[in-house]
């Protein structure tokens, strides 16, 4: 009698390609789930705030504005929606800028805040508030925003310019970013020292970060920056991923590392300068967002870029809700909350990756 041998069958999922495709599917599911969470958070953000409107009232105002009262229409469309969208747009901008700065400078602690871009923006705002001085020929609220934008771009360009110097390593660039932060903080301190009590209060409030002055125009401009820069990052997705293998390996793969670094840093500068100019200094989103994304989907830019944008957007949107609900009746500055939430994460990050940082 012949014995029958049963061969173990190899299914598609058992092959290395099958397992890789399963990983890609998992990444896509995570991105979809985070998108959904961000949308839910956006709705909750619109639904929370002074005035006792239920979620269904708010939904009705969003979907069929003509069927709700004029007051509710104004509250939802002119006040809450721009603020809630601004949280999403700014969160995504800061997180993308942070993610790419970490990639470009090969440093897990790089973000618009730690590289001095936010400090420069604060100094720009202080020039407008304390001295009434405008870098751009504009007036009113645009004076402050314009100053913050120009100074944030200036700080970014200083880092950018430095990277053009031959022989400057990425570690040096990060250290220069930190030096820039101290430089602008010192200038800011000087202005605070001579400021009147009223200006000082205004300046402190601005530098704590706030979404409340969001308008459709500002949301549009910040959104436009995202729309312009994201395709550039997407186009360079393979080159950016290759950069994580180190400059020499990336060059061996044909990546013009110098040119890529300059172009992408300029995009990061644009994103962070726009975000900081409109909402003030909001720290840690640009740092924490990319790290969560990295833990969830890794650093293949095809997943890392959208995931960073989404985690940043979700974090700031949730923080916006928290800022309105933590102490009933009081709106906390959002920058304080992001710093408080981000600090423990930041410390654990330093402890976990200190070998990598000082490698």
């Amino acid at each position: 009698m012949k014995s029958i041998t049963i061969q173990p069958q190899t299914t598609a999922a058992d092959t290395t390609v099958g397992r890789y495709l399963a990983r890609r599917r998992r990444q896509r599911w995570l991105i979809a789930a985070t998108t959904l969470a961000t949308l839910v958070s956006l709705l909750l953000d619109i639904a929370t705030g002074p005035g006792s409107y239920s979620l269904s009232d708010v939904m009705k105002a969003l979907l069929t504005p003509s069927e709700v009262s004029r007051v509710l229409q104004v509250v939802v469309w002119d006040i809450r929606l721009p603020v809630a969208l601004m949280a999403i747009v700014v969160g995504a901008s800061l997180a993308i800028a942070g993610a790419q700065m970490q990639t470009l400078l090969n440093n897990p602690l790089a973000d618009p805040f730690t590289l001095g871009i936010s400090s420069a923006a604060s100094f720009g705002a202080a020039l407008a508030i304390v001295l009434g001085f405008g870098v751009l020929p504009v007036a009113g609220t645009l004076l402050l925003t314009g100053n913050a934008f120009v100074l944030a771009m200036l700080a970014s360009l200083m880092i950018w310019g430095l990277s053009r110097l031959r022989g400057v390593s990425v570690q040096t660039m990060v250290l220069m970013g930190i030096a820039i932060m101290f430089f602008f903080n010192a200038l800011l301190g000087m202005l605070q020292y001579v400021a009147s009590a009223e200006s000082l209060q205004q300046l402190v409030f601005w530098s704590l970060g706030s979404l409340n002055k969001a308008s459709w125009g500002k949301v549009g401009l910040a959104g436009l920056t995202l729309v312009v820069t994201i395709p550039l990052f997407v186009r360079a997705r393979w080159q950016l991923t290759a950069l994580r293998l180190g400059d020499v390996q990336a060059q061996a793969m044909g990546v013009d590392v110098g040119r890529l670094r300059l172009r992408m840093l300029l995009c990061c500068a644009l994103l962070s300068a726009t975000a900081v100019a409109f909402v003030g200094t909001i720290g840690f989103v640009g740092l924490v967002g990319p790290h969560i994304a990295r833990l969830l989907v890794g650093e293949d830019q095809r997943a890392f870029l959208p995931m960073s944008a989404l985690t940043g957007a979700l974090i700031l949107s949730l923080t916006s809700i928290l800022s309105k609900t933590l102490i009933p009746g009081i709106l906390l500055p959002i920058g304080i909350l992001t710093a408080l939430i981000g600090l423990p994460f930041f410390v654990s990050l330093i402890l976990r990756s200190r070998k990598e940082i000082w490698r």
């Binding site: 290395t16 390609v17 020499v248 390996q249 060059q251």
Partner: protein, 260 residues
């Protein structure tokens, strides 16, 4: 149809590392071992050929002047695998090897995926395919880097100390594989290597550089002699070429200072 260096000089900052190298030829289907003491300029030479270091002079690959090609054009024909492949990237082994292919050509996903699968299989990396690069040992990362080189199918493949972190099994496996690759695909392969026994066993041709200068080229039997080794490394060594087993080079003592 080979790599020919007519004249090549290269400086790093103010320091001149390579001095008018000339008369160096690496043929397809062969492994050329690049040997020389520490600081001789081996890595700089490979990087200069790859276009990563700016160099002056003239060199041709398959008759085409390399200095006329941009980095992007050059790296479509050749690939340089650096000695240091350490990284903290949160990328899986499969993603990292796929990346090497996708930075070179845009092609249907299926083609790229099956090439990656084949490369991982040939280097026994399949069990590590989902592991993150940061979690690999030095030797495992070195094999991943070789898989990255393979999927690019270069005409000229340059490897800088590719076996330095490998155990004995994987040293032989990798060099066997590279020898087969050179023969079957008619690839020009140059390997910078310190282990002279491996060089003697696997190389068809040797380039010797010392203090940035081309000292000598030739087949292993011509170059790996006690006199030459004294000249290159300042060592006294026994060299044996047994008829039925691999060549044996046994260093006995260092003779005098090697120089800076």
């Amino acid at each position: 149809m080979s790599l020919i260096i007519d004249r090549l000089s290269c400086s790093l900052g103010k320091h001149r590392v390579l001095h008018d190298l000339a008369g160096m030829k690496a043929r397809p289907g062969e492994i050329t071992a690049l040997i020389g003491p520490n600081g001789a300029g081996k890595s700089t030479l490979l990087r200069a050929i790859a276009g990563i270091e700016t160099a002056s002079g003239h060199m041709t690959l398959d008759g085409q002047a390399l200095e006329t090609l941009s980095l992007g054009q050059r790296t479509r024909k050749l690939y340089y695998l650096p000695q240091d492949t350490s990284t903290q990237a949160a990328l899986s082994v499969f993603e990292a090897v796929l990346l090497a292919r996708r930075t070179q050509v845009a092609e249907p996903a299926d083609t790229a995926l099956s090439m990656v699968e084949k490369a991982l299989k040939s280097l026994e990396l399949e069990p590590l395919a989902e592991r993150e690069l940061a979690a690999l040992s030095g030797g495992q990362r070195q094999r991943v880097a070789i898989a990255q080189a393979i999927v690019r199918r270069p005409r000229l493949l340059m490897l800088d100390e590719p076996t330095s972190a490998l155990d004995l099994h994987h040293q032989l496996q990798v060099l066997d594989y590279l020898q087969r690759l050179a023969r079957q695909e008619d690839v020009v392969i140059i390997i910078a290597i310190h282990d002279l026994n491996l060089a003697a066993r696997f190389a068809d041709h040797l380039w010797v550089v010392k203090e940035g200068q081309h000292l000598v080229s030739g087949c292993p039997g011509e170059v790996l002699t006690p006199q030459r080794l004294r000249e290159i490394y300042a060592i006294e060594a026994d060299v044996e070429w047994p008829p039925d087993s691999p060549p044996r080079i046994t260093p006995r003592s260092a003779t005098h200072r090697l120089g800076s």
